[in-house]
Amino acid sequence: MADIEAPVLGEYQIIPKIKLGTMAGSMPYIAKPDIQAGVGFPKELVPDWENVAVKKLGEMVSESRALQVFLDSCVKCGACTDKCHYYLGTSDPKNMPVARQDLLRSVYRRYYTFAGKHFPKLVGARDMTKDVLDEWYNYFHQCSQCRRCSVFCPYGIDTAEISMAAREIMDTVGQGQKYCNEVLIKLHSIGNNLGLPGPALANTLEGLEEDVKDDTGVDVKYPVDVKGAEVLLVTPSADFFAEPHVDGLIGYGKVFHAAGTSWTLSSHASEAGNFGMFIGSNKDLHKVARRIREAALELGVKRIIVGECGHAWRVAYSFWNSIIGPFDFLDQRYPIPQHICEFTYDLIQRKALKFDKSANDDKVVTFHDSCNVARASRMGNMPGGQFIIPRAVVRASVNKFFDMAPETIYESTYCCGGGGGLLTDELLDLRIKGTAPRMQAFKEVVEEHGVTHIAAICAICKAQFTKVLPYYKFPMDTIQSVHGLVSKAIRLGAVNE
């Protein structure tokens, strides 16, 4: 464990007084020239980068109604100021959503508005300078694009959109982020964020089949590249081996097995996550997602189901139809794409699955709504299904379940602190502080109800919690995959009857 002091949790969440500059030094590693080049960005700051940045900003604003409206409309009412988990955890006022937006809005105003051109001091307009760029680099990498601020803004201003735009501008002028761009290189060349090649994937899955056979005596298959399968499963690559992710993958396989649905993974599209969104690059967003369309066509599947992953589900649910549609080649009777929780929930509703909840009686479980599932997507056919369906799946698998405080779940859920391209070790301090509001809410149910585990449906949440829970004196295996719980409780075949 790195030597980082976690915030001390109190009785309840407080709104801290601002402390200037506490996170001014927090920044991820800057991408080296070869990494920049690998994603097609300039290797280093381009000549005349100030003007390049300003021009790029102008283009992006003219091509996005969201940016246009968001940059104009803020009245500095302060509604968002106490909503960001990074502000609550760090007290740095530049982590208040409005202040974060203003880092970019000040430049927009200077070059693209009457008031900013003629009265810059009056409206806080700033020239594009290296200091400004560096400030962008620090603070736009302290936003997990979780959209909590957008719930509370009276105009729906979404800081995630602003962060994405700022990151795209920084990549364009040659100051990109190492972690995200490295991941994208692996994705583009191999097909997943981890750089796990096809044969290694097949090997891993074979190992899983043996493990499950040993555990349950049932031949549950974990197929890859099977042409003609009914379902293509696209899941975050962390599911292939990280804990607790892999328990989730085992669970998906068991559910498919119980349902008798033929399915396959794809070695070409072995990643649900889409870092193109994190860095605000439309080109990469599309390129990453397109592998999935290609795989679905190549394998001739009829349905696409997405595994447990938050930002990925946003891209899949909200963006896929726009960027890799139309999906006229898939079976129109099912949602396209469908979330694995929707699939399992549907089977539960039809009483097609058998559970022995007592298998999870060693746990008292709560559910962490992952930010992008909660505020940027849906499940089922009613608004809010993204809250109801995963909980129903958890409750089908465990006897003891308690929700955290209402102001910290559903649409008000706190981010895990590691989303949006921040899940890298050099940002650990930020990640530990940023998770404080979630840990606070968790601590309250631990004390009140004896909760022992948090279930989640996001690869980043799972990895982040595994890392940061110990700093708050909780065991790292406190975090569970929802389908890990399903996996434990589901009964398959004769042996387990």
């Binding site: 601002i18 109604r65 909200s318 139809n321 809010g384």
Partner: protein, 248 residues
């Protein structure tokens, strides 16, 4: 024709032109800018009707702000509601005969001027008292509040302290609208009130007051949550062609 009349006649023509053209231009820009992806803040309505209802709640009872902060909501809502009533009420200076429902509002008007100023002072107080809001407040934010408070206060002063010749004032404005200029009553309070109002009209299209048209165009609030059911493309997503064998 006095100099005051000419100056204020021209001022209001110019201010009106800037307000109307400036805001129309911005609305045109908002309407024309593509929104390439679906980004409603969910849970969001799944039908157009549902979105209309969400928008009505947003602009009438400030639903999101209510979730965010009760004090800001309270002061903000009081201010906006009173301002809205006052704007309607002021139609009596521009319509002859006056709109039928205006006389019914007579009683309300005893309070709305105070309500406006009270709401504004509450909001302004937060800019000093709450450290987070103090941090994000710039000179223009304070000046905007000062301007609105001054408009409200000068209006209140004319209503309750020093009456002005509203018959002549009405003749002046109707004259402006019918291109038949009439004398402008040169009461100091009225001149202050009108100057500030004209200033507000002029800065509207270049200031944060654009939140008024902006909210209707905000994709997180006005988009229907139906990306799976109905394919959405605009801007760069409309230019993609995934059906080409070679890809793009």
């Amino acid at each position: 024709m006095s100099a005051v009349t000419v100056i204020y006649a021209l001022l209001f023509y110019v201010a009106t032109a800037i307000l109307v053209i400036g805001v129309a231009r911005k609305i045109y820009i908002y309407a024309r800018a593509p929104q390439p992806l679906k980004i409603p803040t969910t849970p969001a309505p799944t039908t157009r009707l549902g979105v209309a209802a969400r928008m009505v709640r947003e602009v009438t009872v400030f639903e999101s702000l209510f979730k965010a902060n009760k004090w800001t909501w309270l002061f903000g809502w009081i201010f906006h509601f009173c301002l809205f009533v006052e704007l309607i009420w002021h139609l009596r200076y521009f319509t002859e005969p006056v709109l039928a429902f205006l006389p019914w509002m007579q009683w309300f008007i005893n309070f709305t001027g105070y309500g406006m100023v009270l709401g504004l002072l509450g909001l302004w107080g937060r800019r000093f008292l709450v450290d987070r809001v103090r941090y994000i407040s710039g000179p223009s934010d304070h000046l905007m509040l000062a301007l609105l408070v001054a408009i409200g206060a000068s209006g209140l002063a004319m209503k309750f302290l020093v009456h002005t010749d509203i018959v002549a004032l009405k003749a002046f404005f109707i004259g402006l609208m019918t291109l038949n200029w009439q004398r402008m009553p040169a009461d100091p309070l009225l001149l202050i009130h009108l100057t500030l109002v004209a200033l507000l009209m002029i800065i509207f299209p270049v200031s944060k007051l654009l939140h008024a048209p902006g909210v209707f165009f905000s994709p997180t609030r006005n988009q229907v949550d139906n990306p799976r059911e109905q394919r959405w493309v605009a801007g760069w997503t409309a230019k993609l062609d995934n059906t080409k064998a070679a890809g793009n």
